[in-house]
């Protein structure tokens, strides 16, 4: 098992290169967080890892197999992706949505099995949505809705889960709740998690492996405490910042310079 790997990967939208000649590895059973400025191509890279976008050139490997050579259904058994801001069909219930996660494991004529039902229930329990399972997804709060989508990817039972900005639109409480949940999922169930996050401080807290995307490639990769420095933040985000250790966790804390009220 080698997780995900890219070799000389180039991604383009039209004529515009987004990622160029990228070689990089995503370690298995770890939390990897992609960070970078707006438009740096981190979401594009994530989408290509799930084959939602085909490479212009180069290759992506999953467990040493070429992603291009595997059927969409086989990929769906190895890897689940939660795209940014998914929209559920009108009127669909939480239970119905989570059941969709079992789709890649079923044949079209196959009936719903006991195993399917158990895994769906497990996903609902893990996301604390069991009491809400008959509610419509439209009627949930932002945090609950995001959990419903994550429950769907959990029911998919894949060793690798990719998430594109899963904390967007969530308030602080729900952001922490969601990231804690993904953290447990990784530590207890050994799922490989790859996600794009905007908040560098949260990224430093949860990532085993931080990947900074800049100038069409991976500028730097490693544990946050190794790589996050004033110079790195300046280079990647073009931001002047002070890096301190988080008083609670000891992980790097990025304090941006700039204007604002000063009380000391």
């Amino acid at each position: 098992m080698n997780g995900l790997q890219t070799k000389k990967l180039t991604l383009k939208y039209g004529d515009q290169p987004i990622i160029e000649n990228l070689d990089f590895d995503i370690p298995i059973e770890k939390i990897t967080v992609l960070v970078g400025a707006n438009g740096s191509g981190k979401s594009t890279l994530l989408r290509s890892l799930a084959r939602l976008l085909n490479p212009t050139s180069g290759e992506i490997f999953i467990d040493t197999q070429k992603l291009q050579d595997i059927s969409t259904k086989q990929i769906a058994k190895k890897l689940a992706i939660l795209p940014q801001g998914p929209v559920a069909p009108e009127g669909i219930t939480v239970h119905q949505l989570v059941k969709q996660g079992r789709y890649p494991h079923q044949k079209w004529f196959q009936q719903w099995s006991k195993e399917d039902e158990e895994l769906v229930e497990k996903a609902l329990i893990a996301t604390q949505l069991l009491p809400l399972k008959d509610r419509q997804v439209d009627a949930l709060s932002g945090g609950q809705r995001q959990r419903a989508w994550i429950a769907m990817t959990l029911a998919q039972e894949t060793p690798i889960i990719l998430l594109d900005e899963p904390t967007t639109y969530l308030d602080m409480t729900h952001q922490i709740e969601l990231l804690d949940f993904l953290f447990d999922l990784n530590r207890e169930y050994k799922r490989t998690i790859v996600m794009v996050l905007h908040d560098l401080n949260l990224a430093c807290r949860y990532a085993d492996n931080l990947v900074a995307i800049h100038d069409k490639k991976v500028a730097v990769q490693g544990t946050p405490e190794e790589i996050v420095t004033t110079e790195m933040v300046k280079e990647i985000f073009n931001l002047d910042a002070l890096i301190k250790a988080d008083p609670y966790f000891g992980t790097p804390l990025c304090i941006p310079k700039g204007k604002g009220r000063r009380v000391k």
């Binding site: 989408r47 799930a50 084959r51 939602l52 059927s71 969409t72 259904k73 086989q74 990929i75 769906a76 058994k77 890897l79 689940a80 992706i81 939660l82 795209p83 998914p86 929209v87 559920a88 069909p89 009108e90 009127g91 669909i92 219930t93 119905q96 949505l97 969709q100 996660g101 789709y103 890649p104 079209w108 990817t153 998919q156």
Partner: protein, 334 residues
């Protein structure tokens, strides 16, 4: 809403009875009122000497059968097109697919002097395909791609274009007006069963295939990316749905002309009854579409008696207010 499996089955059975009842009404009711027992007699022991039997067998049986088939076809086409475009206001008539089919059929009649029903059918398919692809390409232009509002705008524009082309041809060739008028207004009255039989194998095949793709459509409903990440071949499903829509809508137009609004309103009623699970929404839509069109055809016989309202006008009378309601609901939701 019908939640449990058993209540949905009961719903299906109820609708089957309703459709059967309406077919009987369609055989018995009209300018010449015929008793239900006599209508039953025609089916069991047909006697061509009896004038009432003759009315039923030659005219009303054809109407009922055509309304049944076309009602199912249009309702399923509507459900498919609303799912494919992810647009609750989409339907074969609003997206110009009916208008495209009519234009090609009228062209075949006035310019190519074609007379065979099978040829009309192929021209209907061709017109539906041209209009469908036209809407698809027009609305994918621009950077934000295929948005619901652009789909509707492209459909309305193409629809208007095809209708004015059709009218233009009629201005040049006035003699054809009588032959083609019925395609433009949509009519079940006076249609020959042979017209239906030419298209029937295509419609039935498309209807049966549609009933088997419900599960895939459920997945597709969550968006291209989610569907792909769940292992669905999204491109293939879109092509299948597109071809089914063209066969169902184009085939319907070849038989009865433009009958609007069935494809628009029926999917909403079905979803109101069984929710968004296409394994159920599709069969419910099929039966509701049949019931609605047969019912509308019966009403059309009495509204301005002794004349008949064309069925396309009848469905527009029922569907127009519903469309306004839907549009308003959509606006207030945003």
């Amino acid at each position: 809403m019908l939640h449990s499996f058993s209540s949905k089955i009961i719903g299906i059975i109820t609708l089957l009875f309703l459709v059967a009842l309406l077919i009987f009404c369609s055989l018995a009711m009209g300018q010449t009122s015929i008793s239900f027992s006599l209508a039953l007699e025609v089916l069991t022991q047909y006697n061509p000497e009896n004038p009432d039997h003759l009315i039923i067998a030659t005219s009303r049986l054809a109407r009922a059968t055509i309304a049944l088939t076309v009602g199912i076809a249009l309702a399923i086409a509507g459900t498919l097109i609303q799912t494919l475009t992810r647009n609750p206001l989409a339907s074969p008539d609003l997206l110009g697919i009916n208008a495209g089919a009519i234009f090609f059929i009228v062209f075949a009649i006035t310019w190519l002097n074609l007379q065979s029903l099978t040829q009309y059918m192929w021209f209907g398919f061709l017109g539906a395909a041209v209009a469908g692809l036209g809407v698809f390409f027009l609305s994918s232009l621009g950077r934000d791609g295929l948005t619901p509002i652009k789909v509707i705008l492209a459909g309305t524009a193409l629809s208007a274009l095809f209708i004015s082309f059709t009218q233009g041809m009629l201005v040049i060739d006035e003699q054809s007006i009588q032959t083609v008028l019925f395609w433009i207004s949509g009519s079940i009255a006076g249609r020959d069963l042979n017209m239906l039989f030419a298209v029937l194998p295509f419609l039935v095949t498309a209807i049966i295939i549609s009933l088997f793709i419900g599960k895939a459509m459920n997945i597709f409903g969550s968006g291209d990316d989610v569907a792909k990440s769940l292992g669905q071949n999204v491109g293939l499903l879109k092509i299948i749905m597109g071809v089914l829509i063209i066969i169902l809508a184009g085939g319907s137009v070849a038989v009865v002309g433009s009958v609007g609004f069935i494809g628009l309103i029926v999917p909403h009623i079905a979803k109101g009854l069984v929710g968004t699970d296409y394994r159920w929404t599709l069969p419910f839509s099929a039966l509701l579409g049949a019931a609605l069109l047969i019912g509308a055809d019966i009403l059309a016989r009495f509204l301005i008696s002794p004349m008949e309202v064309p069925i396309g006008v009848m469905t527009a009378l029922i569907g127009g207010p519903f469309f306004i309601y839907l549009a308003k609901k959509g606006v207030s939701k945003q």
